[in-house]
Amino acid sequence: MKHPTRRRLGALVAAIMLTTGLAACSIQIESAPDPSIPKDTMLVAADNGSPLFERNFNPYMTNKRTAAFYMYEPLVVLDNVTGEEHPWLATGYELPDPSTVVFTIRDGVTWSDGKPFTPKDVAFSFDLLKKYPTFDLQGIWSYIDTVETSDTTVTVHLKAPDVPAAQLIATTLIVPEHIWKDVPDPSTFRNPDPVGTGPYTLGNFAAQQYTIDKNPTYWQADKVAAEHIILPATNTQLDVATKGYDWAYSFISDVDGAWVGAGNKNTYWFPPGGTVALFPNLTKAPFNDLNVRQGLSLALDRKAVGDSAAEGYMDVAGQTNILLPYQQNLLDPSIPDSGLVAQNQQKALEYFAQAGYTQQGGKLVDASGTQLSFTITTANGYNDWLKGVQEVQKQWGAIGIDVKVASPQPAAYQLALRNGEYDLAMGGTGGTGSIFRDFNGLLSSDYLKPVGEEAVFNFERYDNPEADDLLTQYKLAIDPEKQKQLGYQLQNIVYNDLPVFSLYYGGSWGLVSNAKFTGWPSEADPYASPKTYDSTPLLVLTHLKKVNDD
């Protein structure tokens, strides 16, 4: 070895050039479904293990297996994309007065062990939630006073007039009394062998994958197309794209290339599932000044923010707290441009001028010459939010505002938000499927807490008697048209008073394959959210059709 050094260096350079050369060409991943999975079986990325599955089908626990949603059903399925209610175990409900809800229970429904389903099961389930408050994640017992049953109905008496509460109560999952009454401690019961009314029953369970089989005695068994569903415990995006999944709920970068491009008749639909917004702290200057809020709002290019955050797959959100286009019928038509606020830096600066801020040397300064400066708080690890915030930072920076970004861990972020200890914070609003709940949480002074105390809603600490009055009227309004009109007024408050800056819609990332099953919810047929958890999958699973071989 005469010049070992030189030769080694040469080899190193060659290796680097080779790898850089390889890097230049990209590799297209192809989907290759496992041929051992039959055509009547669906592969779904709905449930993630930790990384292994725990056999927990208790529908009231947060860590239940997702398929519990396919086994236990509510009285009414509420679709949060359209806001539509679908009668389910109840054929319907009515409110004789704003404090009473009467559910008519569907007849002919049986539990998967063959026992009949009765109103008693409903009352038992409600009682269970009362006895074990940890199960009452929706907090229905903060509205319910008493529950009565008859042969065909369940009557719920509310503590106070509250029409929208009916919907909340109706979405409670129902369990069989004849099994659960013998469970010694339901609060830790993992319900390993679930018995429900739903379209599927548990098949093989293993720690890395389980299957559910079609319930042959399901009350609308004729509508259920898939005989089996396989739910693996690990569903990385690479897995989803390469292994022939039929349904997944996940954001995928470059979805056209990576998911649709992978073949297998893949398509996607990303309807809005809520609004991602910036909450200004209204107890603090300068955010308590509407002119500043107007200035900030007009300085935003919401389209660019949404594109940064969701790679252009989600639409810009209107300043109305309404999800478009699927809730178009609820939108006040008098609001210009469907509530979309276009960027207008000139006008923004005019508003700032009214608030006493002028541009000097590229900086937006107050009378004393101090630059307008604040921090946006977002949660660490929420990467789409972070991307969006960075874009906001850039845009506001462009008109001379000094914007800093803080991204504490989710716990600390949540605490800051609830305690009102922030300048501006990213957050989600709306998307519950209920107009009342969407606005109540955002505007109601019931939730108002001083800075330093934890608020559960109304983090921006909005206090407006006009809004409170509208919300109170809403609770009493049984008539849908009346509700709609109240909704219009609430939208106008959000649009004009800017308690929050809507940015873009948070997506419901539905990835589906039409290779084996068709009839997925889509832009053309938006009958339900494409998400794989909660009760909306019931809508989807009873809507799909098998692809015919011929």
Partner: protein, 353 residues
């Protein structure tokens, strides 16, 4: 004068002959000393584990709420429900500490915030075997293989048997664990489709002691194992090569050569046998690094071990799980170090003095 002369009252310990004493008693003394140190270190690690989370801001329930709030606002009732489910620690710091110590001793770490109602011990005990076997077996393979290659490199110093493993080893050991893992995952898993890309065994299998299952498990562990092997092998090669080069220069190696011992005997029983001792200590200390690396590896391969669980716990702010896992990892490494110390004692007669 022919008798062996020993300076009387010598303060020079090394020159004085040792009275035979009870070799067994000394050996037990050594073990007892190391065990005492182990217990003390365990206590310190356990206490550190107690203190750390209490130095930090934010309560566990807030973390859980933050997760829910991503989907929409959270009501008071929900918050109360979650807090009740989780069981937030109470009492003053001392009471908490006593309760905590009791928990540790009884291996009861409460329930996981993220995977309620699973208990932390349950989660840890399902995950631990995978990591122990994966990391344990691979590390031992890497150590043995690396040491042998290091011996060879030092013995054949200056030849390609030295240059190649040394350079390749130092380059590979500079690879970030997760990067190696990603490359292997992509090329051997997705493009080549040679190995499974996730999990510890086939999707429908369940753990049991059959040849079939073990084969399946080994097949699934192949890529994670290869990653750890690639990234840790270099360190052992270099470490052994360097100490071996030093021992080759020692007098007893020259003397062994002068006595005409076979080269293999000189290389293995004289040079390597002594060179391995300092490396053994490094082995114990490096275990922590390998376990750390395995966190990244398990994350990439979705391998259901401690590392993946820790990653889950951290991203979910699952404090009880996080604490228990950190403790488990630390305790495992401490015990492994203790075993290495004992092995050292067996291999080096000087420690028995």
């Amino acid at each position: 004068m022919t008798s062996v002369t020993i300076a009387p009252g010598s303060a020079d310990v090394s020159a004085a002959p040792r009275t035979s004493g009870s070799g067994g008693g000394r050996a037990w003394g050594y073990v007892a000393r190391k065990a005492g140190l182990l217990l003390l270190t365990l206590w310190a690690a356990i206490t550190l584990n107690f203190i750390l989370p209490r130095l930090m801001p934010g309560s566990p329930a807030d973390a859980a709420l933050a997760k829910l709030a991503q989907n929409g606002p959270v009501s008071d009732a929900t918050k109360a429900a979650i807090e009740a489910q989780l069981g937030v620690p109470t009492g003053n710091i001392l009471e908490q500490y006593v309760a905590y110590l009791h928990q540790v001793i009884t291996l009861d770490f409460g329930v996981s915030y993220t995977f309620y109602p699973q208990s932390v011990s349950e989660l840890v005990s399902t995950a631990l075997p995978y990591t122990l076997v994966l990391v344990g077996v691979v590390t031992i393979i890497a150590f043995v293989l690396g040491t042998l290659l290091g011996v060879l490199a030092a013995w054949k110093r200056g030849t390609w048997l030295d240059t190649l493993p040394t350079l390749a080893g130092s380059f590979a050991s500079a690879f970030p664990y997760f990067w190696t893992a990603l490359l292997l995952l992509f090329f051997a898993g997705y493009v080549g489709r040679l190995f499974p890309t996730s999990g510890a065994y086939g999707p429908t299998a369940s753990p049991q002691f059959t040849i079939g299952f073990l084969g399946d498990a080994i097949y699934h562990a192949a890529l994670p194992a290869l990653t750890i092997l690639i990234t840790s092998l270099g360190g052992w090669i270099l470490g052994m090569r360097n100490t071996m080069i030093s021992t080759i220069g020692d007098d007893y190696v020259t003397f062994a050569e002068a006595n005409g011992l076979k080269p293999r005997t000189v290389a293995l029983r004289y040079a390597a046998r002594n060179a391995i001792l300092p490396n053994l200590t490094s082995f114990g200390l490096a275990l922590g690094g390998v376990v750390g690396g395995s966190i990244l590896v398990e994350r990439v391969f979705g391998y259901p071990g401690i590392g993946y669980l820790l990653f889950n716990a951290v991203t979910n702010q699952d404090y009880p799980l996080m604490q228990a896992l950190f403790l488990m990892i630390t305790v495992s490494v401490l015990i492994a170090n203790f075993l290495v110390d004992i092995l050292y004692g067996v291999l080096d007669p000087r420690t028995r003095r």
